[in-house]
Symmetry: D2
Subunit: 429 residues, 4 copies
């Protein structure tokens, strides 16, 4: 009986939504119906039934339909300019709480309520996160949709507040569907299947991820850590799956060698800062022998930056040029010849190259912004094809030194100043 | 090491916050420090450590301190009127996305970010919910703080979106701490301890509650249901703990006889609508024999309304007057004499008495607003002292008839029209 | 289809079992059918279906039927004497593994297989445990059934091996149905409902229980512990629910003031020894400040023993006689007069009164057998009516001193020697 | 303090156990000490501490030490022949319960108590299961140890009673460590890593396993099921990981195509019978469309049996001989020529070849013993190298027909008669 009821609501909806235009796609009217329905009093009365059907219908849309839907949301469910201007006038005149609240209401586009109601569907949060992923994919060609993205980002930023996330340890007891996602989402050092993964979850490794209760089984971001002795300078030994795992209790250093975001739809909503700091906390509690917490990080923009530099000295230009030799890194004489020049250039890139007043390199921007210190630059830290291609094989360590992290962050936040070790300072000359 | 770090941050904070004025309370400066700290770059850098300390400090504040804090949030962390007006001007001139977003940002008071950061503390959501409870308690004497309440309500409304709530069945296997809260929060028919509760969780009863992942173990709202045959007209048999439980499989009617909100701090954020409809869903799935879903509801405002009516007929005035006799309900002759008059008055109250264009009775407003139908008025439905006091012992049934619920809701939403059974119509004459 | 299948087996069985003799009870034939069925090849083929029906049928038997069933199991499903004797002859002649195993098989009564198959029913273990509880109730009047009990005890002893039990902490987050069982099973210091229980689960109390995976939600045995400073000498302050809970972190002493078995059907299968030692372990890990682990124990047999002593000295007889005065304990002069005599008698009872070569007092036998030391005798340790009645209000402390527990146990096991403190030695004179 | 206590016990033990003979192995005295210690009163007093140390020490033993330990258990912890004979005499004379129980006790070797106490160690059950696996490996060369195995099998048979097992569905949400064990334990159709596994856990497949609470994460036995339409006659399509999964709701047939035991140490303790029947139950409940439950089974002994037959007819010998041609199965003419002869021989092997009075083929023995019917023989049912090698590529279906399963089982149990379909009867001629 109830199901009949729910189905009858659904059917009514489907009739509308399934009305398609000639070419097999949804007509704009049908898509507009999606929005109207959910915002109507019927959408209110029938609880989650309408939300569920809108979510299911969305899943069947192709890219053209989705673009059409976002356009409708953008054009027809925006805040009303006249109403805003009127409310602004009233506020300027009145200046009291009521006019203020009226103004605040007037700048909230009705599509925010559309998304809030859609979120009530079973799996609604998941649908909204994938809507945003789709929308981001469309933005380059359709920049006018940025207004819709602003609403989605506002809502998702509020809903994915750090206070609602749970930190979970990932290991070999974790369900396979979650582990499979790690293989798929790993963005820094690609995993070639389950054996690679298994090495990264062995007893001298740690992996942690943030989850949100509304996205069960879906990691938001995860970090991979190696427990070693002394600062790791090269990533290949950490990934080598033939290696025997070490005893984690004897380790003095935790190396954060990979951190990957998993949800395109949550781009721009930052979790990494919290993740690293909370994992430091967890590790310090589990393994009191750990004294040093450091990353071993890629330098993704180095080669591109190098190619763009017009003011290199002659030896610098020569060294940079030699990187065009195929397999230069296997030519020991050549590699040793360019090494000092390139390491100096690398230090300069990390410290001095800016985008605005922040480091140009995105990884540097992230860790230095968190208050870490640029500790060391490692020649042949990543000898993989990808490592050679993006940074001439160099990696660097950002050190999370608990005693200085806050001071570093303040210096960075207030004046853009980045903190570097004496070793890096020497490189900079 | 890490703990030292976290503690040193905490200690620094405490030094500030614990600076107290002469009378043993926090100085306004110390309280202002709470807000500044959390919004500073230090608050950003140290992740959850500062948030945790603000939350802990808040827990130690007395009412005077809390009032002082809310005043600071109200006065010093409000949106800036000049900035709003400037942004409104720019928007009026430009009308593009950037000026729109700038205006939207300008109307968001900085204290919203204060609450968002506070939410990152362990248990932060709980702290914020209790802050709002405290604030609501202060509003009557300090109506100027409504602006702070508007922000809290906005945030909590977004965070407690139905999509994030989980429906849980409550029974005798539920942890005792949760059950204890039911005893304490039950607002309609008081429970006198564990034996009363146990009857309400027996096999011919059902109880469901909404929970939020950030408030584990804390019911937000719960509903109590009796599985019976035929529409229940009196609540005392349902509560009687000496009764033998019936076989739920044979029941044809589910009576929702009590629904209670648990969190003062979430006042005005509505869950009841969703709860009832989802529980109907759950029950229909578990027990296909159920054909009727109805409440047995109090009429809390009847006697007060009656006392205020100036235009009663003479027999009505007389009947109303007799309610002043102590224990009138035990005088069978008297009770039978007033019964028809009072039932007619009751129907009139429920259907015609309005606050604005909505029913004056809050329970009627809730169920009729949900699309339920006023089905029946029951003489001596609640013979308890409380029942006599608020509604001369009458209760009524609101019927959730799945076939008409949506139509009823639309009629109500669009024109304020409420739906009543033919039986009630007859009473209205 | 499958259910039809299962039901058809069940129905066939029911036909047989439900044949009843004239007076409304099961006929012996029907009861014998229970046993035959389960041991037949049909019982083998139909997996758990027959076992389930036997279990359900058992639940419907009244005491007369149960007695009849146990008699059938005793008489008709016993080991075969001729077969045993023949197997014993073959073993004496052969002495090899085959004749040994044949002999071992011949002494196993077929009813053991009956119980093993019954255990396959859903909830089968629970049924078997309650069968043994019923059987124990019948043994006094029907001692011939001891042979059946020997089999049940053998099986249950094997199945409830310590290695299969889990230790669970019980607190206010524990499901209400389990807590309710504690109230009901508490055997030492009666709980008067939920408020008493709550005090015993407060933050300066601990409660632990053993569970078996096949009896979910059913505690087997539980112990209640108070975290205090110094050896507790009186139980009333520990039970007083008006008291404010103390900070457990500051406690130096854990007092085990109540330990109760929950399952009659597991009588004689000892868990208490393991429970106390593992709880000591858990508490030492949680609260490193704890230095002393001791019981505060009843002396259940003292008054009875006293009444039976023929060789008391004149002052002893007089003191013992005064206990017959009603409310003697409230007569301060009288109480002080008898105190030294009674405490000496109490020490003598605990240390010298024997049953065989073990202490006559069952609680003393248990703790001293575990290797504990009799530490102290406490005047008016339990001033409740029950305490006065069984031990003139005295309680004693058995100390679990980890350094000596093993030595004490060996002395006790080898020579029956019990360990007492110097204080108790002095009492003994 | 407690840990000191536990360690001091452990250390005392280790001193003894670690005394080694010259060649680096444990001396017999040290191994004997393992047994003595656990059975001593110290073993009793110190609860699980001694058991834990014995378990840990066992884990460090090499095969020579293990053999020495099993010999000590066999020779020195056996039942005492003189005591048995004396008890048998007393029983013959007395015949009462006491002499019976004394006899029963005398035939129980003390090593049973050794194992029961060892079981109290954390992970003790796991240790005992692996002891038995080791022992089974030694039996061929040391058949005198069968007596120890009899005790282990007796205990494990009692502890792994069906009533203590839980049936768990295995799917892609199952923890990776458990899934990895499936890959490793799969005994019928080898899995080549995670992609193979994933196909077998897709939505038109089911996998179930039995677990025991004392071996968490360790499947005891598992079965793999394909949901298809019509009786599957070939296994390769079921394993093909490129295939798209079908909709399970439309399936009418459940094919049990692989069943594997996981624990060598539990050999001879049968779970398969229960597993299949309970999985039939689960599937029938989940998917009411299923009408047929059948295996698709290997015929492991066919080729070996064929090679041993002396009385084949000339055409039969010729056909059998052709199987020696390499890749005969790819020679279509040859394969079609031998097909009718070989299928007849296969039917004869399954139905008439006996070991004792039971089918010679172990898989036939298992399913026909369960009451299944031999339904069909499938030419080229398994074209893998292994399928060709063991059964000339043939597989067969055993049908679990719920209406006849019990009758079939009884016929089999009472007279060894096996049930075959009319199709197979025709093959038999």
């Amino acid at each position: 009986m109830l199901n009949q009821f729910l189905n009858s609501i659904a059917d009514a909806g489907r009739d509308l939504w399934q009305r398609r235009s000639g070419n097999g796609r949804r007509s704009p009217d049908a898509l507009r119906g999606l929005c109207d329905d959910l915002l109507s009093t019927r959408g209110e009365a029938s609880g989650i039934a309408v939300a569920r059907d809108v979510a299911r219908t969305y899943d069947t849309l192709d890219e053209t339909d989705r673009l059409a839907l976002f356009r409708i949301l953008n054009d027809e469910f925006a805040a009303d300019a006249d109403a805003i201007n009127a409310a602004a006038d009233a506020y300027r005149d009145g200046g009291d709480l009521d006019t203020f609240l009226a103004l605040a209401r007037s700048v909230e586009p009705p599509r925010q309520e559309f998304f809030r109601r859609l979120n009530m569907a079973p799996g609604g949060t998941r649908t909204i996160v994938s809507m945003r992923a789709h929308l981001l994919g469309l933005l380059r060609d359709h920049p006018e949709l940025k207004a819709v993205d602003a609403d989605l980002r506002h809502l998702l930023g509020s809903w994915f507040n750090r206070g609602f996330l749970t930190l979970e340890r990932i290991d070999w007891h974790t369900p396979a569907d979650i582990l499979e996602r790690l293989i798929q989402y790993e963005a820094v050092h690609r995993m070639d299947g389950w054996d690679d993964l298994r090495r990264r979850l062995d007893r001298d490794r740690r992996c942690f991820a943030f989850f949100h209760p509304a996205l069960p089984g879906e990691p938001l971001i995860f970090v991979e850590v190696a427990l070693v002795n002394g600062l790791a300078t090269s990533v290949q030994p950490l990934l080598d799956r033939s290696g025997e795992p070490d005893d984690p209790v004897g380790a003095d250093t935790a190396i954060f060698y990979s951190i990957s975001n998993c949800q395109e739809g949550l781009a721009g909503i930052s979790f990494g800062n919290f993740l690293i700091k909370q994992v430091v906390h967890e590790l310090a509690r589990e393994l009191p022998g750990l004294k040093v917490f450091s990353t071993l990080s890629p330098i993704p923009g180095l080669r591109r930056w190098l190619a763009e530099q017009a003011d290199l000295t002659e030896p610098e230009r020569e060294a940079a040029g030699r990187l065009d030799n195929p397999d230069w890194q296997h030519n020991e004489a050549l590699a040793q010849a360019v090494r000092p020049v390139l390491m100096r250039l690398c230090a300069r890139y990390l410290v001095d190259a800016k985008r605005g007043d922040r480091p140009a390199d995105p990884v540097a921007r992230f860790h230095l912004g968190n208050g870490a210190r640029l500790e060391q630059i490692n020649w042949m830290g990543d000898s993989s094809a990808n490592g050679i291609a993006q940074s001439a094989g160099m990696l660097c360590n950002y050190l999370y030194d608990l005693k200085t992290i806050e001071r570093n962050h303040e210096a960075y936040a207030n004046s853009g100043r980045v903190t570097v070790s004496s070793q890096v300072k020497k490189l900079l000359g």
